[in-house]
Amino acid sequence: MNTLVITTVDGIAYGLLLAIAAAGLTVAFGAGGVLNLAHGTFIAAGGYIAAAWTAGTWGSLATAILLATLAGAAGGGVLAAATAGLRGRGHLDQALLTFGIALVGGDVLTAVFGSDVLRPRMPAALEGTVAVAGYRYPVDRLAVLAVAVLVAVVGYVVLHRSRAGRLVRATVDDRAMVAGVGVNPRTVDAAVLVASGALAGLAGALTTPILGVGPGTADTALLLSLIIVVCGGLGSVPGAVAAAIGVGVVQTVGVVTIPALAPYLLITAMAVVLLVRRRPVPGQVT
């Protein structure tokens, strides 16, 4: 029983991490109008930077997280500049462009950081385990869980309570009206893409201590993010968070409870969700 509790906690922590990763993708699509297939590459870049920069001290850890976020934001900026010229030419052209960025970026990352799986060196305090409800749980995962909750809360507040967030949501709903109140919707698009990149970089940095980062990271991250974004309704942030936690729990609780079906569980769950969920989710781009 204890195992189930601790595994569920683990699933939620994992899910929240995925939510940060997927939130960037869904926001970029919903508000920025860009289906970013290079999203996984941004996540991997954040992870590599975190792994390379950390040196076992708190200072280096903080710098690493900041650098990873900035690198992601810069990637988002590049993406915004690159896709600006493709506006109005549909998602296929964008997909091709971002796919190209993903391929080139992936090979650059492998060339720079090598093909081995890297892990950050964490401060000793984060390397141990603590007893939670009489069960051992890694401290680094608890820390990641805390940061993930914090980011989710801040993200929600920014999106729903600040002027910037209102502008983003308004751009999703009615671009002409945003232009009418004197704000260039393209500036909003670009800002959203930068923010989305920053979220990807941050997600990369946060995931690395647990999963490591290697040549397969970009693909796995993109695949999981796409599953989450599609299940949660394209463009919907609350939908993405719910779907991410669902994926996290399926990937942890599900695979140990029904080990025989482990390889198929996630895809089956996705199919069921898509079949059952006929109505669009709030915020979904239709």
Binding site: D10, L103, D116, V117, P138, R141, G216, P263
Partner: protein, 404 residues
């Protein structure tokens, strides 16, 4: 996305190889090139097992470089191709090496599934396959067992590490039970079956519910904690596992964070072999594992090998992957020396059968006369600090396999 990227790589490799080939032909001026021999090296230069593939390439190249670029007195044109993650990329690359490049021997090959598929190609063309890594249990073709007359390995069978260590673990745990867990693919099944079959034959008890080994989805599993905590509920006296590459790092790190933390971990040596050991760091300390090689073996051949490895500027200590590929070059060296006249697949294959004892960094070994794989010693190793670096330090000899 990975697939698409991997498709590009063989294309690039093909272009590179073709230009190399053109250069090679130009050098010999098209005249009788009976003293030049083309050998194909097929290893993973992209994908999950890149570091294994690179190690194998380094091992083979190290032998060439320390032997003046010659094997058996003949100048070698080594043509390298990318195996990728498995047969989907490896088979076209092998077809290119065999067809367009007309190599007289094919070596390398990281994955068991690749070997299984490529073996039929090399056999058809009567080209010796000198595999230097995984050797699967070859599936019968059309109901008939495979003809392995052109198939050689300088490595091991995938089930041998488990067979070699089972008796030792049984002696250590006594009446206690052992939990078995591994990745869900051919290599994982073979490695774990070797252990579980031998261990239960010796009267050992598996802690797994129903005595069934737990297999984790491969390569998608990155979070092993749920599996490990579940395993801890069975209160095993020890755990036996096999992982390699990235999953090996995740497994070892998370093992030390799980409820199994203080339970002794035994493994096929690949869990802590090579680049993964650096990434695992101190979390790997104390893992006891079984392999046919340790860089701390005292043989003279091994000391020379380790010194040459460092002198070449390669990182860390040589691995079993590099060693087996180095030995593949040694086998081809002796075989080519024995070929009188033109080198063809047939003459080379006949010569390989006569190479006899190989003085290898792992200790002397020779080919099993019918199975064409090494009869060799297996060693128990433990991950310990060896000076400033972690190393798989030799503890004791275990056994010689295959038993004759």
């Amino acid at each position: 996305m990975r697939r698409a990227r991997l498709r590009l790589r063989p294309a690039l490799a093909a272009v590179t190889a073709t230009s190399l080939l053109a250069a090679g032909v130009a050098c010999t001026g098209g005249s009788g090139d009976s003293d030049r021999v083309r050998i194909g090296l097929l290893v993973s230069l992209s994908g999950i097992y890149t570091s294994v593939g690179e190690d194998m390439q380094r091992g083979f190249q190290l032998y060439l470089d320390t032997h003046d670029g010659r094997l058996g007195g003949r100048k070698i044109d080594l043509i390298v191709a990318d195996e990728g993650d498995g047969p989907a990329t490896a088979v076209p690359a092998a077809q290119k090496l065999l067809g367009r490049d007309r190599v007289v021997a094919l070596t390398g090959l990281v994955g068991g599934a690749t070997v299984d598929k490529v073996q039929t190609l090399t056999h058809e063309r009567r080209i010796p396959l000198v595999g230097a890594n995984a050797r699967p249990e070859f599936a019968p073709v059309a109901g008939a067992p495979r003809d392995l007359s052109y198939t050689w390995h300088t490595s091991y069978n995938s089930d041998e590490p488990g067979i070699a260590i089972a008796a030792h673990i049984k002696a250590e745990v006594g009446g206690g039970s052992v939990y078995a867990i591994g990745p869900d693919y051919q290599g994982g099944w073979d490695e774990l079956r070797g252990f579980t079959d031998t261990f239960t034959e010796l009267g050992g008890k598996l802690a797994n519910p129903g005595g069934k080994t737990v297999f984790t989805p491969f390569p998608t599993t990155e979070n092993f904690l749920p599996y490990l905590n579940k395993a801890a509920e069975t209160k095993p006296a020890a755990v036996y596992t096999f992982y390699a590459g990235g999953p090996a790092v995740a497994f070892v790190k998370q093992y030390r964070q799980s409820a199994l933390k203080d339970v002794p971990l035994y493994a096929a040596g690949f869990l802590t072999e090579g680049a993964v050991l650096d990434a695992q760091g101190t979390a790997a300390t104390g893992i006891r594992n079984v392999l046919n090689y340790s860089p701390t073996l005292p043989h003279a051949a091994n000391q020379q090998f380790v010194a040459a490895w460092s002198a070449a500027g390669h990182p860390g200590q040589p691995t079993t992957f590099a060693m087996a590929s180095y030995d593949a070059a040694a086998v081809l060296d002796r075989a080519l020396a024995a070929v009188d006249g033109p080198v063809t697949g047939e003459t080379l294959n006949a010569a390989i059968a006569t190479v006899g004892r190989i003085d290898s960094p792992r200790g002397d070994w020779q080919f099993h006369p019918s199975e064409h794989r090494p009869v060799q010693r297996w060693y128990l190793r433990e991950v310990r600090a060896d000076g400033p670096v972690l190393s798989n330090v030799l503890l004791q000899d275990l056994t010689t396999l295959p038993a004759t």
